[in-house]
Symmetry: C2
Subunit: 279 residues, 2 copies
């Protein structure tokens, strides 16, 4: 059954406040792929009512980024959500989310100044602010986020704890295409050639795992070999770092729970990916 599409904040509030049982929430920017749908399936398992938001949030894009070209397909998204059984899809507009006199921001220190935060300087402020707003409108018991955006997940979990949100923020596994490319709405930007070469991201992460399994622990050495692999495939590296999964700080010596994090440009398209070094 097709989910009910909701286009206003008061209507969204009314629906969740009058519904019975627990609420599971999946915030998205739409153009849904199987990664998103895996979150909705998880919400379906855990909550009585499943709400998905589709909103390309302007405040998380810098002026030089791809806000205008970000892919959109509401009809296809609704059809996909019908298959996995979402109850409500919330489509707020820029005007209702950020009226002319908008002035308020939620920020998280430290976790947002590393990795993607180094170049995407306003990105996480936009994410934490819009998710705060959506959580206030939807008041979910559970919110589901993909580990593809691992830094985002950690930032939002920190925010949730710090600000005493009642919502449990649940990270779900990154989903890959059959050939290993991490699913992302931005993969649609890739030319056939770039799409092929983009496999180097996943390959470099598996190389890191292999090196660690073989006894390499010095992260400088592991990163350097990943770099060579990616550059040989034509990728332009934004960052490759091996970090502590809680602090997101780079570490000199890898541990079993260390996360390998990377952002790489294939042509003009910036892709991110990550993997635990030991599994």
């Amino acid at each position: 059954m097709k989910p009910t599409a909701i286009y206003s904040i008061p209507e969204m509030r009314k629906v969740v406040r009058s519904s019975k049982g627990t609420i599971g929430f999946v915030p998205t920017m739409g153009f849904l792929h199987d990664g998103h749908l895996s979150l909705v399936k998880e919400a379906r398992k855990k909550a009585d009512v499943v709400v998905v938001s589709i909103f390309v949030n302007p405040t998380q894009f810098s002026p030089n980024e791809d806000l205008q070209s970000y892919p959109r397909d509401a009809e296809k998204d609704l059809a996909a959500l019908a298959r996995v059984g979402a109850d409500y899809v919330f489509f707020p507009t820029n005007e209702m989310m950020y009226p002319a006199d908008y002035k308020t921001w939620v920020t998280v220190d430290e976790l947002t100044s590393v990795l993607c935060g180094k170049t995407r300087t306003i990105h996480f402020r936009g994410v934490t602010t819009v998710v705060t707003k959506l959580m206030h409108i939807i008041d979910p018991d559970f919110m589901f986020m993909g580990e593809k955006d691992f830094q985002q997940l950690k930032v939002l979990q920190q925010m949730g704890r710090d600000l005493n949100f009642r919502t449990e923020i649940i990270g779900c596994p990154l989903i890959r295409e059959k050939d290993g490319l991490a699913m992302s709405s931005r993969n649609v930007y890739l030319s056939a050639d770039e799409r092929e070469k983009a496999l180097c991201l996943n390959r470099s992460l598996r190389l890191a795992q292999q090196l660690f399994a073989e006894g390499s622990e010095e992260t400088k050495n592991i990163v350097s070999q990943m770099q060579d692999l990616i550059e040989a495939a034509g990728g332009k590296i934004d960052y490759i770092e091996i970090v502590d999964p809680e602090t997101l700080q780079s570490i000199p010596v890898a541990h079993a729970d260390s996360k390998v994090m990377l952002a790489v440009y294939m042509g003009k398209t910036r892709l991110i990916d990550n993997m635990c070094i030991s599994k």
Copy 2:
């Protein structure tokens, strides 16, 4: 009947989630006076369950301010709250509100950089952050704030709208001592001599009203005469401004709804007060 004192966040959550009807919330820093109690009475009228928090919030004090000396008297506060009929009093600790790895802040632009925000640079960030936390813990239908802290009220109402809090934030009239001094927990800092001289704040505000009633509209002229009155009484002016009550921006020509806002040091004690210019 004495209200129930609550000392932990999970316990506070449990109490409000299991209570029936609407929740009215009055956030305070304790050392309660009749201004605070008027808010509790208003909450009692409007809500089924009344929760008062008492927390001297460290993040709204700069290092050079009076966090350590801020007056405290929990027993007297509980007795006063028993008289006006609060149901629950929440006493969080610094440690539970700001654990060691605390990283998240809520900020409001523009409204916080004028008036008190010019000298108290981190003050409003601390206020908006702690009130966000308290609203998440208590989930009130209504929150009651005094107009004594008019800028704070406006900042929090902006935050409430911007972040889609479901809570209605209600401003209540400033309460004065019989001789006209605005009630404040900080009045206890004043020596007998300073206490007497501090009446110049209220007098200067009434002078502004009188000048406006007599036809003065140029704010520069009104402020200048207030200045003379306060300085003659030995007050050291932080600011006197006549502002638009919505934007809090200084205006050159006063209107009937303009607010006269001031902060004045009497000795070492910083006092604030405000009045609508026309009533």
